[in-house]
């Protein structure tokens, strides 16, 4: 079936079959490989994208379901300059191997856009859907707290 939606601000129109995952649509059909596949069952969060502003695991979303929606991937976070959360990740050393980084950034970007910013004590729970095996999370939490809780 043919669907139309917006990805990183651009309108796209693609043919998808009913079993295509949003993850594969993005990575294979649209060549947006910044979104990663870690487990294919919604546990690791490496495939997180914003779907109408909410962070979702794109491996669990049927592609046809995003018709008419607005998708943002890691490639769409930066404009002329990096998104503040991208800068904070660089500054704090929150990215090591980098495979989980796109998903973490997407979830953090969702939090940073909330009208009522979450409390510092809530950040660890709010980020718990994105696994990282390199950092021990401390530097990620430091970066997210700085952008989401302090500056907003």
């Amino acid at each position: 079936m043919k669907i139309e939606f917006t990805v990183n601000g651009a309108s796209v129109s693609v043919d998808v079959d009913s079993s295509t995952r949003l993850l594969d649509l993005l990575r294979v059909d649209l060549a947006l490989t910044g979104t990663k596949n870690g487990c294919s069952e919604g546990e690791c969060g490496a495939c997180s994208v914003l779907l109408d502003g909410r962070s979702v695991c794109s491996c669990l979303v049927p592609a046809f379901q995003v018709a008419g929606s607005e998708i943002v991937t890691v490639e769409g976070l930066a404009g002329e300059v990096l998104h503040p959360i991208q800068d904070a990740f660089l500054k704090h050393g929150a990215a090591q191997c980098g495979i989980c980084t796109p998903g973490l950034l997407i979830t953090a970007a969702e939090l940073s856009a909330q009208e009522v910013p979450p409390k510092e004590t809530e950040i660890r729970e709010l980020m718990a859907g994105n696994l990282c095996r390199c950092t021990g999370y401390q530097k990620i939490i430091d970066a997210v707290v700085e952008v989401v809780c302090v500056s907003s």
């Binding site: 487990c39 660089l90 990215a95 980020m127």
Partner: protein, 729 residues
């Protein structure tokens, strides 16, 4: 100074913008997709492999052992492991055939139509029975390696209290978030280019050249951006490279294999399950008089790197303590389970879980405070290790006091929110655990001298390029080496470029393992940079700075200097007696973990984690802390939640991220990381290796904290809620 600065990692921007290309992101024209057909039995004879006659095989490539042109082996330390099983499979999920097709779906479908008939054979799954079993897996008695260390006269000591304990650790999965993957691309000269996720490009060259029946000049290996390794991508990628190369040879096309998570968990290497028994005599003042230890390491079905893992285990089972009388025996044996392999720490975490738990046992039995008992026995300058290596400036006491001070200076946060009622407080008990570890940096004994690791540095287009086979797998090598060169040549960091890790262009620096990259290879890199400056001065006849000489340089477009490892500290080592200088130097670590234990559920919550680690010199404190914090959380996961459950075939039952539980940000404690700097003269600017030591101490500290909180003594990992609950009355 660029050294000592937490400069941003060179690959940071591509990683935060999604531009970094990992193996599954590479778009190779005409690339086929490969899948692996695996044995479902612990041990079996392969009766036949046949293609279903009613299936269309016209566009499918199939490879079995019969199609291999060269020698059917993945060469590492030995040649016992085949690329594809020929007549007998020795472990569940062992590869027996390969299939490639234009799409992954088509390849998977074809795999279902390849009929492999097996005759199941009796299998050996229990390492304790391995050496006496009728099932023959390796050599004559299923023993990969036996190592003995003797020092002093343990049998001659009869005074003191004899204390004995046994300590066990289970399988542990590296769980890099990027599953293993590899691509083979045919070259015009008939050779092959391998690219993918890996730690050790030259291991692959060595591992598959004989298999493919080609000359090593006909193969080049390129590391793609690698999403974590932790040892899991040390030796296993040679197997994957072999498979894509065989399919590429057979089809004449590029072939990619990327494992899904379950295949990765079931098939690839894990940390060796280990049982350690320690017997020691202790004086009434708490001094260790004898230290006897028996170690049994389960290597799985093939040798892989198991003998070296056993070596690390026997060399670290003393812990950072002094004793004059040692008797240490280690066996590494075979079972019909998937081969175990490299994982951060490489035997030392298992050994030091045991030694630290044993110190706690001594304290408990003899009525000592556990920290005071350690203070009385920690090594000091001039002490000798079990191998007779004299220690200079060991940091054991320093890291202990640094960690305790840091732990006392910061407030212990309240326990994280539990969903519960007013009766909650009665369920929760807090405890604090303290543990220490040491870790030998670099290869054992004369390993580095034998390996002769190389690095080259070149001046090209006004920039300095580094060529090394040491790969960045997230730990930040590319950044650290650029810092080293910039510092050595007194040039800005943006004047230094790390070349791609392609064996056609980079010399063999040795593998990216063993806490050796920064300390050993980084030192070679530093000397190569110095060599480049000296060459420029010699050629120009001017004693100017590098900046001036590089600006005025008018020679060939690339001026390259290659350096090779040189022993800078005297090393005397006897691999037969295991006596002498086991490592060029050691790192030291102490951790303090605060836990809350729920008596009703057995759950252990980590409230706070403080560590003090001797890093020699923190070349980049942000990256150094990142290594320590990440390694520590892997150890905390190993301590309480990460359990690999095998079924009766030796197959991992919980091979999904849903039921193999790694810590999330909510499970992880707040971390305070203290970097202690006791410089090593043989490392670049004093740096020591730090990649592995964070794995060594935390699990034992958690066990001690649980003991303090609820009075339960656990000597086996992981300490899951079920295990804790079984012991709580």
């Amino acid at each position: 100074m660029i050294i000592g600065q937490g400069v941003q990692r060179g690959d940071g921007v591509p990683k935060v913008t999604g531009a970094a290309l990992y193996v599954d992101d590479l778009d190779i024209d005409g690339c086929l997709h490969g899948v692996t057909v695996r044995s479902p039995h612990a041990r079996a004879r392969i009766v036949s492999i046949e293609k279903s006659e009613d299936y269309d095989w016209s566009d499918i490539t199939v490879v079995t052992a019969k199609d291999i042109k060269g020698e059917n082996t993945i060469y590492l330390m030995t040649r016992d492991q085949p690329a594809l099983a020929e007549s007998e499979t020795k472990h569940c999920h062992e590869p027996v055939a390969l299939i490639a097709a234009v799409t992954l779906e088509r390849a998977k479908d074809a795999a279902r139509h390849l009929v492999v008939k097996y005759e199941p054979l009796p299998a050996l799954l229990d390492a304790n029975l391995s050496r006496t079993s009728d099932v023959n897996i390796f050599g004559t008695d299923n023993t990969f390696k036996e190592i003995n260390i003797r020092k002093g006269d343990h049998a001659g000591v009869s005074e003191g209290v004899l204390i004995e304990g046994t300590y066990k650790t289970g399988l542990h999965e590296q769980l890099y978030i990027e599953p293993q993957g590899m691509i083979a691309i045919p070259r015009e000269d008939g050779g092959v280019t391998i690219t993918g996720s890996m730690q050790c490009p030259y291991y692959i060259v060595k591992g598959i050249t004989d298999l493919l029946g080609i000359d090593k000049s006909e193969i080049n290996v390129i590391q793609s951006t690698t999403g974590g390794g932790f040892g899991g991508k040390e030796e296993y990628p040679s197997m994957l490279a072999a498979h894509v190369a065989l399919l590429s040879q057979a089809s004449g096309k590029p072939v990619k294999i990327v494992y899904d998570r379950t295949e990765d968990l079931q098939s690839t290497t894990k940390r060796h399950p280990t049982t350690v028994t320690i017997r020691s005599r202790v004086s009434d003042t708490g001094r260790l008089l004898t230290w006897e230890s028996d170690i049994l390491v389960d290597g799985g079905a093939y040798n892989t790197l198991t003998p070296v893992v056993l070596s690390r285990a026997v060399l670290h089972v003393t812990g950072p303590y002094r004793c004059d009388n040692y008797n240490i025996t280690g066996f590494a044996v075979a079972t019909n389970t998937p081969p175990n392999g490299a994982f951060r720490g490489f035997g030392a975490p298992q050994a030091q879980f045991a030694s630290e738990r044993h110190m706690d046992r001594i304290a408990r039995v003899m009525g000592f405070d556990p920290i005071e008992l350690r203070r009385r026995n920690l090594v000091v300058s001039g002490d000798e290790t079990a191998t007779g290596q004299k220690l200079y400036d060991p940091g054991a006491h320093t890291v202990l006091e640094a960690a305790l001070t840091a732990a006392d200076n910061s407030d212990v946060p309240p326990p994280k929110s539990f969903s519960g009622d007013g009766g909650l407080a009665a369920r929760l008990s807090k405890g604090r655990g303290v543990a220490l570890a040491f870790h030998g940096c670099g290869f054992t004994g004369n390993g580095e001298a034998a390996l002769q690791g190389r690095v080259s540095v070149s001046l090209e287009g006004g920039k300095v390029h580094i060529q090394t086979a040491s790969t960045d797998i997230g730990q930040g090598v590319d950044t650290i080496f650029c810092q080293i060169v910039a510092e050595e040549l007194d040039i800005p960091l943006d004047m230094v470029v790390m070349d791609p890790h392609d064996t056609d262009n980079v010399p063999d620096s040795g593998p990216t393992v063993a806490s050796r990259t920064t300390m050993v290879v980084g030192r070679v890199c530093q000397r190569a940079a110095k060599g480049l400056l000296e060459l420029l001065r010699e050629q120009s006849g001017r004693d100017e700075s590098f900046t001036v000489l590089a600006r005025d340089y008018e020679g060939p477009s690339s001026l390259r200097v290659e350096e090779v490892y040189t022993e800078e500290v005297d090393m005397e080592w006897d691999p037969e007696t295991y006596q002498g200088d086991a490592y060029p130097t050691y790192g030291w670590s102490c951790v303090v973990v605060d836990c809350t234990v729920d008596r009703d559920t057995g759950e252990v919550r980590y409230d706070r984690f403080v560590s003090a680690t001797d890093v020699g010199r923190a070349l980049n404190p942000v990256l150094a802390a990142g290594q320590i914090e990440g390694g520590s959380l892997q150890a905390l996961g190993w301590a309480t939640s990460e359990e690999v459950v095998l079924d009766e075939r030796g197959s991992m039952k919980n091979a999904r991220l849903t039921n193999y539980i790694v810590p999330t940000s909510l499970d992880a404690p707040e971390m305070h990381t203290v970097l202690v700097e006791i410089p090593f003269v043989g490392g670049p600017f004093g740096a020591k290796g730090i990649g592995e030591i964070p794995m060594d101490a935390p699990a034992a500290a958690v066990a001690q904290a649980i003991e303090q909180a609820v009075g339960v003594v656990l000597n086996e990992l992981p300490m899951t809620p079920e295990r804790v609950l079984c012991e709580v009355e």
